[in-house]
Amino acid sequence: MSQTPTHPKLDAKIPSGHISEKWTNFKSTAKLVNPNNKRKHTIIVVGTGLAGGSAAASLAELGYNVKAFCVQDSGRRAHSIAAQGGINAAKNYPNDGDSIWRLFYDTVKGGDYRAREGNVYRLAQISNNIIDQCVAQGVPFAREYSGLLANRSFGGAQVSRTFYARGQTGQQLLLGAYQAMEKMVGAGKIQMYARHEMLDLVVVDGKARGIIVRDLVTGEIERHAADAVLLCTGGYGNVYYLSTNAKNSNVTAAWRCFKRGAFFANPCFTQIHPTCIPVSGDYQSKLTLMSESLRNDGRVWVPKNIGDKRSPEQIPEAERDYYLERKYPSFGNLVPRDVASRNAKEQADGGKGVGETGMAVYLDFADSIRRLGDSTISERYGNLFQMYEKITGDDPYKVPMRIYPAVHYTMGGLWVDYHLMSTIPGLFVLGEANFSDHGANRLGASALMQGLADGYFVIPYTLGNYIANNTFPKVDESSDAFAATEAEARGRIGQLLNVNGSRTVQDYHRSLGKVMWDYVGMGRTREGLQHAITEIGKMREEYWQNVKIPGSPDTMNKSLEFAGRVADFMELGELMARDALQREESCGGHFREEYQTEEGEAKRDDENFSFAAAWEYQGEGALPTMNKEPLTFEYVAPSQRSYK
């Protein structure tokens, strides 16, 4: 395969030098902005999760004027808050053989060789700074009696490199970033716009220079100009309707940027998390993740016999199949997420699923409780057990948990170079919203690491370099570019409200989710994907003729907010199916049933598909085109992943 990108905009700008020196080389040669000049630059940050919160705080501390936007009523509520398990770092405190190299290697391998080596190495290098920074902020990580930090092994890692704060690591890290951000709000360096939704990106002379937002309380449409825009808006898992994402998580901001010229990379790479609470009925509005740290002490099993409907305690040991331990003796219950998820589906599809719906497997703590006692298990997982009991009414200390895979994270996102800049100059994309570091599958406890790496330690350097290398003629919010973009945003709202049909937004969203889960979910086929494209096309057409949105545009109106988001999800869903269709291989979270080994494992095709697929918008009604950024592996030779 050719080693040059198929589009000149897809230059990854990886610095020269040995992989361990690239980031240092970049930092040593990056241009700097004079301290007195930073205050002359306004930077927009959209989203206040780990990536956005940490970026807003760090840039404001450096002296930039920051405008931060979020759809929630406070920056502290971004969905990073819900991350449970932990954050990886290559500290090697436990002396068990970890290193920056090993974290880099594991991440590239775990991502099934579809991530950029340069980015991943930098992430591993920065991981240690993040822990230092967070501890200095007062993040109450778990500690040993010595007073030093505790670590655990997490989701497929053979070293204990995960730092955690009970089952609320995301919450504590986000509060650290949020507090740093509020500190700068108090200092007057960040203007906070909560309950504001980005509706479009304003591009002036080819550069991102502002955004159009809707005040979700008054319905007013506002214009905000800046010298750069940072998109930190998270992932698009809610395209499946049911996912572990929060209700407000959406793709609209990223999708608007796609339509303004930012390439969207690898949209089909989605992560289905193996340990979620199973669906209980049609009314279900979201799925709840149970941290995969539970797999450290829980054993996954199903009955050996098809259709065995006895309650779990009546099934004797000899009639249980601990299928992960059986199939993958060296990793057992700790195989990576994609492998664990696919295996659960295989058991359920084979008629061995448990619970009322048969769409679940057991995660059993009985052995660990016998070995370690209730109190140790409670210390490790107390809040998770409590959460499970609240939702299901079952007590996991007594009855095995029932779990099933659910959509959790999206590795795809807007294409960015090493500087985290999209194909639109001045538009940077951080955290889950970009595509770069996790390849086709993200390892556990790596999302928090990447969000904070991007925000605390990458963007302060790469943004400075961009600002210092460019000139910024004053852009007026009353200019034609702003007026035209605002008019388009208003037009979309008007068009939606004018339909006045008979089906609610939620109803459409559910239907879209079902198509996505059935055909663009854990197992994908050519026919299924083609079917999904047709179905979504029909649904989109119907949507604009028959959606019903009560209420007015001039008040708080959640139906209207969701109407815009679901319209964008439909377009994205179609692109995901197209991306999955062109990728005629199985890798990581993308499993094409036509491409598997005899043992049913994912079969990669490095010869033909070792590239990032970067989709380019071609206008309304035209099909997007696919460009390729070839991936080269100089340091980690691709091999078939084996967790046997």
């Binding site: 501390e61 009523d73 509520r77 609320q168 309380v217 009925g281 959460m387 708080m556």
Partner: protein
């Protein structure tokens, strides 16, 4: 567990805008599954209202797993409803019976201005944090994370306070609409850690002052906050805040 569908009779606070008077409106919601969460019952109500061409009820919600702190409903007089240690999004309908009457109101406090229906403005809580609820470490190169050991007991207690989700149920439950538990939880979290020590005095003074400025009431030891807190944060935080405040003001 029975899956028999229930009918729930709701009395919900509706208010179009802060400038307009609000009122309770009664709704009967058939088809409520006992496995539904309380918010999923509201989704069902809103779908039923939309189908009839009526305006849905606005309510804040996001993660629906009890951690983001968005949801804010007073259910039968209790913030987040009758189940202890539970946010409204984690309250399931199996705790209600067929035919139950349920009253749902917004958080009510002078420092939480009304926005619409069950949605209020809680940015006063953000401003309390902005006044001092942080450690002033800029992003950079702080010392190695293990250079300063913290006793496990202190660290665990700090975590207990840091678990606050900032929902404001403590304010809604308090007869004085005080934000003492919210404010004290952050002060307690940071005061228990050595990293928080250098700013200990100014932090407590600035945060307490901001709380008063926002129009939150004083604490008079009713203890309703602790009972309503979805994360069961102990009222001992408030005692600690008072000690911190006295030490900061008197010196020593």
């Amino acid at each position: 567990m029975s899956d028999t569908l229930m009918t729930i009779h709701l009395k919900v606070w509706r208010q179009d805008a802060p400038t307009q008077p609000g009122k309770f409106v009664q709704y009967t919601v058939p088809g409520v599954n006992p496995h539904m969460s309380f918010l999923e019952m509201f989704d069902l109500l809103n779908e039923q209202l939309s189908a009839k061409g009526e305006i849905p009820v606005e309510f804040d919600n996001d993660c629906r797993e009890g951690i983001c702190g968005s949801c804010s409903m007073v259910i039968n007089g209790m913030p987040h409803g009758p189940q202890r240690g539970t946010a409204a999004c984690q309250l399931h309908m199996r705790h209600f019976k067929d035919g139950d009457h349920v009253v749902v109101e917004p958080w009510r406090a002078a420092a939480f201005p009304m926005i619409r229906d069950l949605v209020v403005d809680r940015t006063s809580l953000d401003r309390i944090i902005a006044a001092g609820g942080y450690i002033s470490t800029n992003t950079g190169a702080p010392p190695d994370a293990n250079s300063l050991p913290v006793s496990k007991d202190d660290s665990d207690r700090a975590f207990d306070y840091a678990a606050c989700i900032g929902c404001g149920a403590c304010v809604a439950a308090c007869p004085n609409a005080s934000a003492s538990l919210f404010t004290a939880a952050k002060i307690g979290h940071l005061a228990l850690l050595p990293q928080g020590a250098p700013e200990r005095k100014r932090r407590v003074i600035n945060m307490v002052e901001q709380m008063e400025k926002e129009g939150f009431g004083d604490c008079s030891n009713h203890g309703e906050c602790e009972a309503a807190c979805p994360k069961e944060i102990s009222i001992s935080a408030i005692a600690m805040m008072r000690r911190e405040y006295v030490k900061a003001v008197v010196g020593g």
